[in-house]
């Protein structure tokens, strides 16, 4: 139990990572692949944040020394151990926004694929594409003949 006590956040990261990765490649519906992609990115953000979390630490906004109201650097507590790690949080702001941008692009492509093939299921799309392929080939043969 102690081992789980120390690492239980990383376990969540691993579960989400595997779910997201499996859904992204294994799922049949394109929208479900996008949901899998978001879960996969969220798992990595979770990994960074749990790396930067400290037991008993508060949010990384500098607190006033009790009683001091000045604005100089001396009137703020700047001991790093009582604040959470700001560096990993910056990186994850970027990762979230990148995730949304990629999601927007992926959903645009899903709509275009739906306009093109009338379906969102990967296996049906592949069948349509292979049929297009077959009916293209005979055209080439009589061109050569």
């Amino acid at each position: 139990m102690a081992w789980v006590e120390v690492h239980y956040n990383y376990l969540l990261v691993i579960i989400l990572l595997m779910t997201g990765l499996w859904a992204m490649i294994g799922k049949n519906n394109l929208i479900k692949k996008c949901i899998g992609m978001c879960i996969f990115q969220n798992a990595i953000i979770m990994f960074y944040i749990s790396m930067g979390a400290k037991k008993g630490a508060t949010i990384p906004i500098l607190k006033h020394v009790p009683g001091a109201h000045g604005h100089g650097p001396e009137s703020y507590i700047s001991d790093p151990t009582i604040y959470a790690n700001p560096l990993t949080q910056i990186l994850m702001l970027t990762a979230i926004v990148v995730g949304v941008a990629t999601l927007g692009m992926a959903l645009t492509l899903v709509q275009k694929i739906y306009r093109e093939y009338g379906t969102c299921e990967e296996d049906e799309i592949l069948n349509c594409m292979s049929e297009e392929q077959d009916h293209e080939l005979p055209l080439q043969d009589e061109l050569k003949a």
Binding site: A53, K55, P86, L87, G104, L107, Q111, R115, E116
Partner: protein, 254 residues
Amino acid sequence: MKALSLLLALFVGFLLIGVLDDLPAWGDAKSPANSYVSAYYLKNSMEQTHVPNVVTAVLADYRGFDTMFETGVVFVAVIGIMAILRRDPKEEDSETGDRPPHAPPEGFILGVATRFIVPFMQMFALYVIAHGHHSPGGGFQGGVILGASLILMAMTGELESALDRMREKWFIVLVAGGFLLYAGVGLGCMFFGGNFLDYSALAPLLGGDPKAAAIMARYHGMLWVEIGVAFTVMSSMFAIFAYLSSDGRMDRGL
């Protein structure tokens, strides 16, 4: 294909579980990640940039170049989606796949509620942008809330009414303008002799004794940069929603 993906997911999971013991225990303050670079930020951010919210200080100043390219990612997403989806409404729907019949919004209650909520959302968003130095928040969060207020108008009312307030030409100009403001502040620092995005080079603009002016220049440089980010993120979130919901025709949305 399904089995292969399961295999890959299991392999990645196995790789990660194998490494769990080697990682520092969760939540201890002495782990390398929490002690080397981030300790420097926590110790020095107040005297170097005069910003209590260390997250905003590192986001906009120490690693401001990352955030500039993050705004670039949002900008690219809008231009890319516009390039793929955009087509003029007159073009008949040649491809297969029907579009759902459009039900005009008849919700009177929704209309009144939206007209009541939207101003407060936008006021709160401006507060989030402006107060990013002292409280959680900043350019991204404020920009998304502004975008969400526009999306709320587009969803409850007609996309047309939202587009009347924010023509397509305007949100493309705003997307480019916000990113230009960000990169322009960076370029301005180069004209004043500093490196790219070195706000302390803007100290001569503020006057007064150079040391204090350099710190306050960083403080205000960050605020300008956050405003640029807010513009870009606001108009890009609304643009992506408008293109997605109207499938590129910008005529009628959700």
